[in-house]
Symmetry: D3
Subunit: 282 residues, 6 copies
């Protein structure tokens, strides 16, 4: 089936890396070569379909050894490639930049998901803190890591945030959101207190997001929601200041979703490399 | 003067974050509000002109308090903004995503530059390991941090890398590069041994890049170059496996440039936020 | 605030109508003229912000006399315009094509909404049967008419349709959708029988869409859902074969949403015109 | 040969319908399926090449059973398709939206053409009242219906309209148009009186368009042109207020062309559908 | 009024000349400077509106001293400019490249037009032999020089050429063209003999183009057309092998149009330059 | 390997030449034909890969008889083509416009290169005076002709020009350039006197460009540089007022590079044509 990247998109990325006259690619002899893309560290792979779309563009034959979301170990091969050498050199950096960046996100996400899974059913989710221009691919990396992408943009579902409360008050904001929302959309309210959480849940929002609360405040808020009979009516999400160290603590508070911008903005690239097959195997 | 981002570029980024029908922005009252963008940690700022281009697009009035490359401390204000509330909400995440991502790169670069400066004149440089789609902005962040952007794409200067050596041999590759290069371009050869470094320098490349060598190997190679009377004819660059911990060791080896993909691919975003002015000041 | 159309989008539409050398515009004298856009029939107006974006592009001063969603009568003025004559001629057809097409949709939607409102609380919604390239604007026209836009594209919320049932069975499809959905998304299942409606509701979908059922089948299905205690857990939508004649009958069946592709694909343009002010007033 | 839609164009339309993460398509099993696109009403088909371009994009094998401009009856198959199920789901709505919208225009055009053919040699033509963004496809639908597309944009031929007369007077406008026109272009003048029609014909315009005149006024104007010996020198076009009811009356007035914006802006979509082959045949 | 270049177009041209990091522009002090664009040879100016669009993009204030189509002499000033120095440097080459290239075309066209005017009423016209990507601007330069742009693309009017005759024969091609043409389009037939010219004229084409005929053959063909009473029914165009030397000879043959690809493909740029005002005046 | 033109680029060029409804292409019978592209004059060919990319787009089978940079003689075949006739007609003008324009540049460049080679080792180089939109292709034509492309845009290497000297003085400009340059870039200073040439060389620029100097001034400047021991440290380029007549004189002055805008802006197209195979061979 069609890869997850449109051809016009790929061309923008290619143009960025190739420039007008890539002598260092054109100067190699016009022969067919084989190469591998392999891991230089343990990691979870993401971006495989994007790499394939790049290979397709350059008429590179490939065998995919790993799917998105699979763990690989140091030296594991991800792709076997065969093409004229010019095309291999042209596709090298771009495919590695996508695979390295996205696998880094998938790997960090997987770590968080596994940490949470040990003590909770909660879902780990991303946010809109993503690198401009490639959000859709970063969200796919979160999914590959086992996380939830959360909304893709401002039009996806309606989220009432701190600046909304500052501008128009929580109650007003919820009323307005319900008036304007499509029946196909969920409404989420970010709150900073149990009182507001209860208000939001009573008013019928689908998701309550507890922002920057401590684990104990969260436990107490969940308890109050249960006491009011509202716990099952809302999805409870927590966010703010959550990192790999304190993640477990938050996971145990009885909430449904932990969203972490850091899945993306603190992820470090996975170390992947492309090598001509002869040198790789020797 | 014209900002460092073309208007057509901005629209692509805006479209990604807005989607088709951003109710959560449109639902706020049509009033004028003031806001600030401020730091929630110490960092070096980058991306200020890009944020300004975004503000211009949304007709947001701004006062810039900090320039690219300046250090700020927790709570320092970077921009004061004034606009209708809809536009502030629309510009918020996109401008923060750029500022946060780029300031993270500038901050890490500055750390490395300062570490090197303590013991050497060497330059810290980036590589082509950049996030697809925004290389030019990431390179500007490296510059803001005090680093050298290195080449922007495959057409900028000619770089002979390991895969070239595997395909056609070092000597052949240099000959071919010299034949095809414009007189306006520099030629750089990546090598893994002192012998190859000397060969490349003798053949007249402008830059020799010592790849994945240990500090002692580097010292010995530099010495051999000097001994052959070639040291002043080439710029010596080192790369591979250099991180914040071992950076100083490499810096002291007598080389000219240390290039580190990690300036970009291990950088973590700076924590910045936008708040309505009233709430920020209270 | 920023209009609902990006400047790059407008240029595509302008280019389509102008071509390379629009002599018939350029041949008029270089003077300032005033013009009005007015209605030649009663209708509900939509597309006002898009027209404004076009006027902005051509530096046309305008006074808007009517907002999206307002009813106008024959001869009512929608915009007063002032600009050089060349620009007025260049903006004329494009702005009228948008206003006429979108106001036609808004007008038909309003008719349906008013018909439903007389006998029900049900919402009238659009579908994905929209003219390629301008879906976002057609959805806004539906909103202007008082309708619900339904999802904007295949990624907005998850909809299980007849072809899913044919390919993988309803139960399987719902299980898969629940597994893959983000917690921020709603899941909708299209069904053709009461049995399937109950199955879907029991499995926890957010919206059940009764496809191509007669009013009596719908009434009976709603009753069965109520009997199973599921009525309040799902939004019930009906679709298929509903038109302005039989709309009331469907509206009275106790469902929540009536979706009609015909809001868009059977709408006829509203008749609007631009005239130089002198001729309009004489 | 190359289809009538450039690949870059198709991607814009695909992106509109797919969004970032189309779970409802991706969730189906990765198998090959067969499907048909068929008519649910009698109609004239248009847009076949555009559908083919979409199928090509998604690597869908197709057999076309009907060409543009052919009449089909309820249940007639237009395309037989074979592809992986994901691709079928992705191509479904977009191809149907084009085929349905364009076949609606072709069907209405054919009705008008046939009505005219019964009593006249006159040509039925479209106008520039087209849906923004897809004019070229709507014009092709008019051609499929047997109509004349008229000019595609403001640069195609030179048309002097009411606003030109208001701004600079008819005589002046014709003089200026003749001065600026290329010898490859025709000049058309829209007039509202026999006197102006004669003036325009005498001045050598190629086409006189009688705007908003009654059939009897038209007959009298044609007679006066003949009397002045001008009838054979100009093409006479009528427009304004012509609909399917009064079309025949206008057709009999001795004119050459009847142009009707309504071919496009009053057309209703043809009802077409895609179904998996098994369900279609059972 | 709006300039003859869309903003999105300008950005493509700017991007080509600026690249990612234009140090040589950015390194100048941030001051306001004045500059002039002036001629270094006598020439006819074209492209003034395009230069203005570029200046607008860079917020450069300008006073235009010359309009398209005007003759200037060595040292004449075309634009006075005022802006920050960075923007002046950024706009310099692009605006000069357009002005120089287009003024070269206008100058050569004017020479040809004046040569023809001395002995004939014939029009001098361009062809579709234009530089890919900027045809519309080159055609405007021809107009500025006093020439006729001829058709802008393959859809403008219908032209039957040698390859049509080879493929389907002249008569067949004319019949097919008449069948497919819109009534708003002219039909032109390229012929190589008097016999074909008469055939084409009899069949009602609007323009007959005598291809690669000698002046005497042309004279004889025109005479035969006159003899058949066809001369006034067709525009007679000649083309092929016409240059500045033999132009007068062709002009005197009694034809209507002389089309010359060489207006564009043999034109040499006009020599224009930008200089800071102080240096220019000293 | 991938051709030197991205598919998205090609589509822009195609759209320019095809327009919306190219009847003159569509009207030919749907048969397969063979054609040749051949030279109608002696010339050096360039643009072969671009033509191939266009043929690929239109699914035209081709056999390339000549490579970029090869000389052909009148009547030599450059491409043999086979495709449906519609596609041949659609590809004809665009491929010829590229081949003709670029071969013209290659031919003029080759003439200059050969003239220089007779008396010097100097390189002939282009400038940034290129036709907007197709610089990369024109630079490739210069390379095909044996010339050096010089820098592709303002970001490629740093060039200090007359306007820099006017604004900030030569010394200052060099200091600033060295401060801002990447170690991967060369710095070039344009000077108008021997004194400035020596200053620039002493300050360490890589290239000194002697602007608008006479051959005797150049000889004297080169001598002074040698006297100061600077000759081998800099590449010496000359530019300004150099044409095919005086080229040899400049070539003998002992400089390294002669750059000539005229390679592009005075080049005249090579005369190439496409013909159906039957007619070509008869």
């Amino acid at each position: 089936p069609v890869k997850r990247m449109l051809r016009g998109q790929i061309e923008n990325f290619i143009q960025e890396d190739l420039g007008y006259h890539d002598i260092s690619c054109q100067m190699v002899p016009d022969t067919i070569a084989e190469a591998v893309i392999f891991a230089k560290q343990d990691c979870v792979i993401a971006g495989v379909e994007i790499a394939e779309a790049i290979f397709d563009y350059f008429d590179i034959e490939y065998t995919r050894k790993v799917a998105d979301g699979e763990k690989v170990q140091n030296n594991d091969v991800i792709f076997e490639l065969k093409a004229d050498t010019v095309s291999l050199l042209r596709a090298e950096r771009l495919s590695l930049n996508f695979l390295g960046h996205l696998s880094g996100i998938a790997t960090l996400t997987r770590d968080c998901v596994e940490a949470v899974n040990e003590c909770s059913e909660a879902v780990v989710a991303a946010t809109r803190k993503t690198t401009p221009g490639i959000r859709e691919f970063e969200k796919l990396a979160v999914i590959a890591g086992g996380g939830d992408p959360h909304r893709f943009n401002l039009s996806d579902s309606i989220m009432i945030k701190d600046n909304h409360r500052n501008i128009m008050g929580l109650e007003n904001a919820i009323l307005k959101a319900k008036e304007m929302a499509s029946f196909t959309q969920k409404i989420e309210a970010e709150v900073e207190s149990a009182t507001d959480a209860i208000l939001a849940a009573k008013m019928g929002v689908d998701i309550v997001m507890l922002d920057n609360m401590s684990p104990s405040e969260i436990i107490s808020t969940v308890e109050k929601l249960r006491h009011e009979g509202l716990r099952n009516r809302v999805i409870v999400e927590v966010s703010g200041g959550i990192n790999t160290e304190n993640l477990a603590e938050y996971a145990k508070t009885g909430i449904d979703v932990i969203s972490m911008g850091s899945l993306i903005h603190k992820a470090q690239w996975a170390d992947l490399s492309m090598e001509m097959k002869d040198s790789f195997m020797s």
